[in-house]
């Protein structure tokens, strides 16, 4: 082979920050080809995807509406991934958080108290955490693979939601549509900027970024998570319990996703519907990696992925492009990121003269 891949003695710090940018450039170049194939002017499509959605103040605020659940889910997932706990069921935990959180309003719709929303947020976190506790229990007690159990529970959670919305959660005055009644004001996320849909959930997301940052860099539990993830044997010698970390990361990740779910139903959706997320829990996996599993990185990666959701909608309206382009785009970003990550730990060398010398 002409090119040789050589292990670096230490992971490259520069490349850790460079590869997301390389991945984006490669994604954009590939999507130019894709747009060409779909018979759309690539420059026009890129404009519709990345610039047009930010034209007005309202659309700019929508960026935060879409980024909020992504930030919350991805913060939770990043802590799991740091510990090598592969929770891929954030979508289910999000759904369960929405169910448990909104149950308070559904069963006590008349209650008008300023405590309503805080209680719902806490219940949302509890619901998501409880759903994530199932894979944690099955992993620590029975050694069952958390990837598969957490994913199976996504389907179960969505079906539970469907049972409720088609069943006795249906709005009594809703003409039999599978929808709950719309949330009362005390169950609604307060709007941050009037005239937009930007809501209090964004504040929660920013708090999560800050909290996770402090937790991972300043606290013992954050340190334990990192050690168990990077060197489980060393962690065991230090007396860190792997089981405890599995429990902690999954419950934390579930709680974050649960809050995301609740903030969707009591924020932009304002009622419980059979479908409450366009796959935020899965896109959050991409966000977590693109943000380098770092809270601040996740914040920016979420905005970017939120932009692809908005861009997908704009491109659909203005160019008639299928919405599925968004999914392809998101998948490509992760692909190219993982591919270019080889540069973090390895370097490419021309395989020529050196051989003779060594």
């Amino acid at each position: 082979m002409l090119l040789k891949i050589e292990k670096r003695s230490e992971p490259s710090k520069v490349m850790v920050y460079m590869t997301p940018i390389i991945a984006l450039v490669l994604t954009i170049l590939t999507s130019i080809v894709l747009f060409e194939l779909l018979g759309v002017n690539p420059m026009e499509a890129l404009y519709q995807f990345f610039i047009a959605p930010l034209d007005t103040e309202y659309e700019f605020s929508e960026l935060f509406v879409k980024a909020t659940p992504l930030i919350l889910c991805a913060i939770g997932l990043s802590v799991c991934f740091r510990a090598n706990v592969w929770n891929i069921g954030a979508e289910g935990q999000l759904t369960m958080g929405a169910i448990v959180g909104s149950s308070l309003f559904i069963y006590f719709p008349e209650t008008d108290s300023f405590l309503m929303l805080p209680a719902m947020i806490i219940l949302g976190a509890v619901g998501g955490a409880a759903w994530a506790a199932i894979p944690a229990f099955l992993k620590t007690r029975f050694n069952a693979n958390e990837i598969l159990t957490s994913l199976m529970l996504v389907y179960v959670a969505i079906l539970v939601l469907s049972v409720l919305v088609h069943g006795h959660w249906r709005d009594p005055s809703g003409f039999n549509f599978p929808e709950s009644r719309t949330f009362s004001e005390s169950a609604d996320m307060p709007i941050l900027v009037s005239g937009t849909r930007m809501h209090f959930g964004t504040v929660l997301a920013l708090l999560a970024v800050l909290g996770a940052w402090i937790m991972m860099s300043k606290t013992l539990i954050g340190f334990q998570v990192k050690v168990i993830g990077a060197a489980p044997v060393a962690g065991a010698y230090a007396g860190f319990s792997q089981k405890k970390i599995i429990w902690f990361t999954l419950v934390f990740g579930g709680a974050m996703a649960g809050v995301a779910g609740l903030s969707e139903v009591s924020g932009p959706i304002d009622q419980v519907l059979p479908s409450i997320s366009p796959g935020y829990g899965f896109t959050a996996i991409i966000v977590a990696f693109l943000g380098r599993l770092h809270p601040v990185g996740i914040f920016f990666a979420s905005l970017l992925m939120a932009l692809t959701y908005l861009g997908g909608e704009t491109a659909q309206i203005n160019l008639g492009l299928p919405v599925a382009v968004t999914g392809v785009f998101q998948g490509m970003v992760l692909f190219f990121l993982l591919a270019s990550d080889v540069l973090v730990n390895y370097r490419f060398r021309l395989n020529t003269v050196r051989k003779a010398v060594s």
Binding site: A144, T149, V156, G327, V328, F335, V342
Partner: protein
């Protein structure tokens, strides 16, 4: 005899529900035996499903459709190979990426085909034999892919345990360093195993869109790729047991459909949860005994190979 006639259609539907899992499961088994964990089965199945469906509607040639589906799955697997084998990316993350990408790309490709009907894969019909009551339709009235799935299981068992090539493949999966030092191309062999897995997942997906429910819908695999992954753990990496597991899951899927049709007083969604819950229960039962998993799982599974020299 009368009173038992319902059994035949039930068995027939169990077979159609199990066959996609057999293909995807056996393909992924070969991949895993070579020491590679590809979590992208769901994405590869979806690509196979859409590629097969589009080819069948455009050309009407089902043989070609299945070939194209296998090719689509193999191309996806090749991408996975480039990332994990050549660029040494994390296999778990890359597998997830493959699934997310496959979900998006298949939705894009199938956009204009949603809701279009297609004739289901034709079934074998041997005058005389297929009309024998009871055994006739079961033994002699299946479509070609069902027979192929049985041949596949037998062939893969034979290949893995009775041929030298199979031994080499298992050696690569159990100790890549040893295999490398004897002079086998670890990366080359893994590429082949990964692409075989992709091709089989593609056919499994095509079975869904051409035979099980002859149509295309976004995300129509509904987690079957993940169930196939669970089946391999359940089967402790043995081809015959993968098939047993696939038929068990086919049985559960069909049972819940029949229970829904019979109008049980349980909401239909609760019954739809059964295959997913069963997967979890089966995983728990098998994984409980950790030493059994350790004994059977390929030792190098998920590990990155980078020759020191």
């Amino acid at each position: 005899m009368s009173g038992f006639e319902w059994i035949v259609p039930v068995i027939l539907t169990v077979i159609t529900a199990a066959t996609p899992l057999v293909f995807a499961g056996i393909g992924e088994l070969v991949t895993e035996k070579s020491g590679v964990l590809n979590l992208g089965v769901e994405g590869m199945m979806l690509m196979g499903a859409v590629a097969g469906f589009v080819t069948a509607t455009v050309t009407g040639n089902y043989f070609l459709a299945v070939l194209v589906a296998a090719f689509a799955g193999a191309v996806m697997a090749f991408l996975f190979g480039i990332l994990t084998l050549s660029l040494m990316a994390n296999q778990v993350a890359t597998g997830l990426a493959l699934t997310l990408f496959g979900v998006g790309l298949s939705a894009l490709m199938g956009q204009s085909f949603v809701g279009e009907p297609v004739d289901p894969l034709s079934k074998l019909n041997i005058a005389g034999l297929s009309d024998i009551p009871f055994v006739g339709p079961i033994l002699f009235g299946q479509d070609g892919l069902v027979y192929l799935s049985f041949v596949l299981v037998a062939g893969v068992s034979w290949f893995l345990y009775k041929t030298k090539a199979g031994l080499i493949l298992r050696a690569v999966g159990d100790s890549h360093d040893a295999a490398h030092s004897i002079g086998y191309s670890v990366i080359g062999i893994r590429y082949l195993a990964v692409m075989f897995g992709g091709a089989m997942s593609g056919i499994g997906g095509a079975y869904l869109s051409l035979a099980y429910t002859p149509m295309w819908a976004e995300n129509m695999t509904a987690g079957r790729g993940w169930i196939a992954l669970a089946l391999i753990v359940f089967a402790t990496w043995k081809p015959g047991l993968v098939m047993v597991g696939a038929y068990m899951f086919g049985g559960i899927t069909i049972l819940q459909l029949h229970a829904q049709a019979a109008g049980l007083s349980v909401p239909s969604q609760v019954l739809s949860m059964l295959p997913y819950l069963a997967t979890i229960i089966v995983l728990v039962m098998i994984s409980k005994d950790q030493s059994r998993i350790r004994k059977h799982a390929p030792a190098c599974i998920g590990k990155i190979f980078h020759p020191a020299a």
